[in-house]
Amino acid sequence: MPRRKGVLIMDEKTVRRALTRIAHEIIERNKGAENLGLIGIKTRGAYLAERLAKIIFEIEEVQVPLGFMDITLYRDDIQTKLDQPIVQKTEVMFDVADRIIILVDDVLFTGRTIRAALDQIIDFGRPKLIQLAVLVDRGHRELPIRADYIGKNIPTALNEQVVVKIQEVDGEDSVTIEKEKRK
């Protein structure tokens, strides 16, 4: 295995600041938090959505309904992959119809995950509008999709790997860039 050298881009503090700023931006842009709904894309986006909901509650004292989504069943590469990805549960317990849905993910890359998530949300109902919040935008879009709220823009080369670690899953908050593509 080639040795990977990681360059630390964000640590616990910067991740927290970015999320706090995004929460403020969400409230400002939507003039409050009354009609919002947060949907996190599994796995790491789900925890980020949970944290955003917490921060928004601290600021506005509004409990924003929270949902989690697994987009496996809506992927466009399901029949070309050798190994079927493990499907996780989707838990969107609130009605998305006429709500402002904030879709949350860790990294925005090709945009294909977001396309799948958009299709899935629309199958649940007709939201008033959908906005996208990501911790990292690393570029290289393959679809006409952009984020409304971005923690950090990180220009990358295609052979680089952006690794996001989240306390709840990986035991720490960090974003690093690694040179070698992970197998």
Binding site: Y74, I78, D83, T90, E91, F124
Partner: protein, 310 residues
């Protein structure tokens, strides 16, 4: 984690991990079935043929719904209205169907081993929907799923399968699956309907229903297969109902929180009385609901990948 084979021919030889994967995947699909739009685009462009050489209501509709809810293309075939009537052989029939570019075949056939035979002459994925007295793996899986849903785990349960074990593919798939998952299994039925050397599968064998039911958690009641009773193996249905029919009186021997299962269709008043079949401990209709989720999981896990797994 993936399934080792690209076919599902039976539960014999399927590992605990693989069964676990199928059951976990089915849980996700069960959630899909509760959404306002009960459909996901996962198998868009995949063509499935449902090849039914034997009559079926549940299995066929269940597979059909599972395919539709995964957005697969499907074609239904029933032997009685096809060129099989003109004498076309099975091999010719499936070769011709495959020439029309299909990806998966779901087959039910009266002869044991037919799905295996298809794997030898086709390149599609084959799913066994019941072959003779051999196996009915998706029924076995949905029974496991239903039990896991109720008891949280299958390990340690005592399951009694009652009825015509000899002709029952449901019994065989259940025995393989339950044993793999760590349940203890007993079979009970008239000696004429008990296959030789069934004990070699690792089950207890009873010909007295009262003894078999003692201390059991689950009773899986098999249908008396009237279409397979030409040989005079039963004196009369009435005698069978008296000796082996499940009625409320017999439930007293079971453990508290017991479960009654039946793969359907039910012969009410023969192998099971209506009040038991419709009782609060009966999960017969849950089994049917779960069947769609299990079949979606199997179709999903067996699809995908141009490259051959293995």
């Amino acid at each position: 984690m993936k399934l080792k084979s690209r076919h599902l021919l039976g539960l014999e030889g399927i590992s605990k991990e693989e069964i676990g994967l199928i059951l976990d995947t089915a849980e996700t699909f069960k959630e899909v079935l509760e959404r306002p739009i009960k459909k996901v685009p996962t198998l868009r462009g995949v063509t499935v043929v449902n090849l039914f050489y034997e009559a079926s209501t549940r299995t066929r509709i269940s597979f059909e719904l599972a395919e539709k809810r995964l957005s697969a293309e499907l074609v239904n075939f029933s032997a009685s209205t096809s060129s099989v009537k003109k004498g076309e052989t099975l091999k010719d029939t499936v070769k011709n169907i495959e020439a029309m570019k299909i990806d998966m075949v779901v087959i039910r056939h009266q002869s044991s081993g037919t799905p295996y035979f298809l794997t030898q002459c086709l390149s599609s994925s084959i799913i066994n929907a019941g072959d003779g007295a051999h196996e009915h793996p998706t029924q076995g899986l949905l029974d496991l799923f239903t039990l896991r849903e109720k008891y949280k785990k299958i390990e340690g349960l005592r399951v009694v399968i009652v009825g015509d074990i000899k002709h029952s593919r449901v019994a065989r798939s259940n025995i393989w699956g339950l044993k793999t998952m760590g349940a203890s299994v007993a079979v009970c039925g008239p000696t004429t309907l008990m296959p030789y050397e069934i004990d070699k599968m690792g089950v207890e064998v009873y010909s007295n229903l009262g003894e078999a039911l003692q201390g059991a958690d689950v009773v899986n009641v098999l249908r008396i297969q009237l279409e397979r009773q030409k040989g005079g193996l039963l004196p009369s249905l009435r005698e069978y109902a008296n000796e082996f029919g499940i009625n409320s009186d017999r439930l007293k021997r079971l453990n508290p929180n017991f479960t009654i299962m039946h793969p359907g269709p039910i012969n009410r008043g023969v192998e099971i009385t209506p009040e038991v079949a419709d009782g609060p401990y009966s999960v017969i209709l849950d089994q049917v609901t779960n069947g769609v989720a299990i079949r979606m999981a199997v179709l999903y896990l067996l699809s995908g990948g141009e490259g051959k797994v293995e």
